[in-house]
Subunit: 218 residues, 2 copies
Amino acid sequence: MPSPPATLRRPPVFDPAFRAKLADLFAWRRDVRRFRTEPVPAERLEALFEAAALAPSVGLSQPWRFVLVDDPERRAAVHRHFERTNRRAIATQDAGRAARYAALKLEGLDTAPVQFAVYCEPEPEQGHGLGRMTMPETTLYSAVMAVHTLWLAARAEGLGLGWVSIVEPAAMAEILDVADDWALIGYFCLGYPAAEGEVPELERLGWETRRTVQVLRR
Amino acid sequence: MPSPPATLRRPPVFDPAFRAKLADLFAWRRDVRRFRTEPVPAERLEALFEAAALAPSVGLSQPWRFVLVDDPERRAAVHRHFERTNRRAIATQDAGRAARYAALKLEGLDTAPVQFAVYCEPEPEQGHGLGRMTMPETTLYSAVMAVHTLWLAARAEGLGLGWVSIVEPAAMAEILDVADDWALIGYFCLGYPAAEGEVPELERLGWETRRTVQVLRR
């Protein structure tokens, strides 16, 4: 059933029970690298992209561009490219960390049923430049918030998202055949996670620990 | 009462009622430029910064840095700097839009009871470089997701956030006396909004309209 026109809807009430669950959502959102193989219904995926498009964007420019990757050859090319890039990344780690780094699983490219790239159109006509004269990077930031919106909406559906950044944007543009001037935000794996957890995997495996937030005062 | 150790907590269940409310939260989050003047309790503000620190971050690097601005002189300097920068921005609009641009209210610097800047430490030691060899901008993107987490948590509390990007990062670093190498993500106004709405103000005032999301297939 379609919603009533926006102007006729009353502001929702977010009660303490909702806020507690929202806190759980933030706490239990994970970067997922281990997926079960069952597919994600197409209408769920579509709803996630629509939720993403409610993200804030500078000047209402909506500069996010989603590229859904189903072709097995392109997926295999992405996977090979990741493997190559990750070997280089291992080599940049110092001796004490390289073995630990190599043991980490940093993506679910082999099993994730849904894979997509998110791009940003860096000079969108939409929005008419508002808000980006001195900080044009806010266009990129808008696309990042669309990813994060999708991430949270997915987690609330029991779906996990993994962000793959160990790739070269130029190589990815070639593999995915997208416009040269689009900026790659990331390549993403989506599916039902093999396990749930409240502790980030990098913390559980001893790579890094969370710190308490510090606020400077001026 | 402290929560039980994370490893002992069971995954939360996000039911359809929660998901519907979460969709409302996305739909009713606004960029707020008109605030009521009543203060925000300090413990609420602290809880918002703590929620923000649950955002995803590349390599668990948590590169966000919050700078709370209470000093009236610094606030006034930010406001003057915004006004100057915005006059330049008006001049970049074409003749057909300049008057409409000038009529928009793009910030709540005069009334927002809470004001803070968010910075990113661009080369954090925390995280040990994981995930950022080829895409170091993911560090900035992590800080953006912290802002967005705070934005959603605030809205669920009835608080509105406004993102001010019509400023020069170099001038802001001087006004706020922060490290030269920190990257400004934005300057933010927070408080109880004067009005609520489901339609972005830029859409309501005819500056821009939302488009439906397009997904490319590869």
